[in-house]
Amino acid sequence: MRLSEYDQECLAGQRGKAARFALSLLRKVGEASGADQLIDVTRAHLVGAYDAGAANDELLDRLARLEAKVRIPTTLNASSACLAVHAPGDKGEQDRARGVVDRYVAMGCRPTLTCAPYHLVDAPEPGECIAWSESNAVVYANSVLGARTNHTVQFLDLCAALTGRIPRAGLYCTERRLATLEVDVRVLQDERLRAEGGFALLGLWLGRAVPAQAIPLLSGLPEDTTRDELRALGAAAAAAGSLAMFHALGLTPEAPDRETATGGRRVEQQPVTVEMLEQVASGFTAPIGARLAAVCLGTPHSSLEELRWLADALELAGHTLRIPLFVSTSRHVMALADAEDLPARLRAQRTTLLTDTCTYYGQVVPGLAGTVMTDSAKWAWYGGNNLPVQPVLAGRERCVASALAGRVVAPEAGGP
């Protein structure tokens, strides 16, 4: 693998001991993954700012003793506790999470604490090479923004931040970003399926059905598909499988037409049916009328548009919630929402707002157990494993109606 003068200075220790460790690791990973060189990345997003245990803390302390400092703008992913003033949750867990965040901040990272770094003011540009972790952010950056990143796993992300370098492999290479199969998803033009969380179900199906490293071209999506819907799809596919990028024909920047998305190659065609999506949903259902313990929204972190929608939907209902409704977002979006008075409106409806974290971490909502409804396939996937809960997946309208009723309500009359 070709190394630049800068790379060699790092390896020789001329840029400090932490940069030497980081570049040595990047080089070994680059060689193992068949990269021809390391390239510059403009920014990094790190996944490790949560309480992962004593060994992880010890590792950061060792790096601090090597005087580790990030070399490029670096943001931090969601943590394992809400760190806002007067936050609900376990105080010990909050202290441990704060301890980890402080270690990263001491290296020069920004405490953004969000799994939705694409919502921050300076989102990546098309074609920009970045080193992002957090699987939903990676899919969103590649697919919706047209920026370039692999699933930069924990510690590799930190090494990229400490050096501003990454092996040139996978999705940094133009030819590796072309669609490798086409999936006809016109089934989502059915408005009722779409309202019932169809994009999340499609993501779950894609994650399971599409081979690792495949890049699907989705054709036949509704023309008015929103960025939040593409985000829900990508988050689900990344949680259930290893999807790092998809194209949506006519919707995403690298798929203005089939020719561009595939590079002119013929690719295998695969249809998705309602039955396939129902099969995926069957693991995340509960009988109509079943009692609910809570409803969890905001995985990945809610956008400003989603918070506006929720405030309007709750006020329209005219009565307050029967069970807890948790909504997670970033401190950045919360500040924007504050300027529109959204948090006050949501709290008036007894919504619990959380920043910096996700409700599927064990200690964020102490005692969360039983049947929990969510609009997020990612929450359903991880919540079901991390917590003693039975997750139920539904569209956001049904999530709100069920939170108001305290029970699983039926989909809109005539729905799937």
Partner: protein, 140 residues
Amino acid sequence: MSVRLDAQSLVPGRCEAPVLVLTEPLSFWGGVDPASGRVIDRQHPQHGACIAAKVLVLPGIRGSTAAPGALLELLARGSGPAALLTARFEVVPLVTVLTSELLAVAPKPVAVLNEALQLLPFGTGDRIRVEGEAWWLDPA
């Protein structure tokens, strides 16, 4: 009769332990209990199996990019695998084992199979032996 596995060594080492073969990719974050090393992913076909002190043979890694933090914790606590052999190149085991060297955790051998996982004649009670860069299957 030992069988030499066709595997590309990423981290050489030395170990000898029982094999645990997974038939689907694993998520170390959220899919494995850090204290015991048990597979807790309810969707996984080997749900309930214990990866501690086994040579873990698996088709790949899936899910969260926080997998190295979880695997590092498993390795540091002694509830992690003795060696990792994946059917396709995966960054997670390599990065985690290289990082664990900063903590003075003995590096665990890592390799990628050059042959199809489902064609290998693994049976109950089989063991794998790693000597430097060579991986040997010792059938029961």
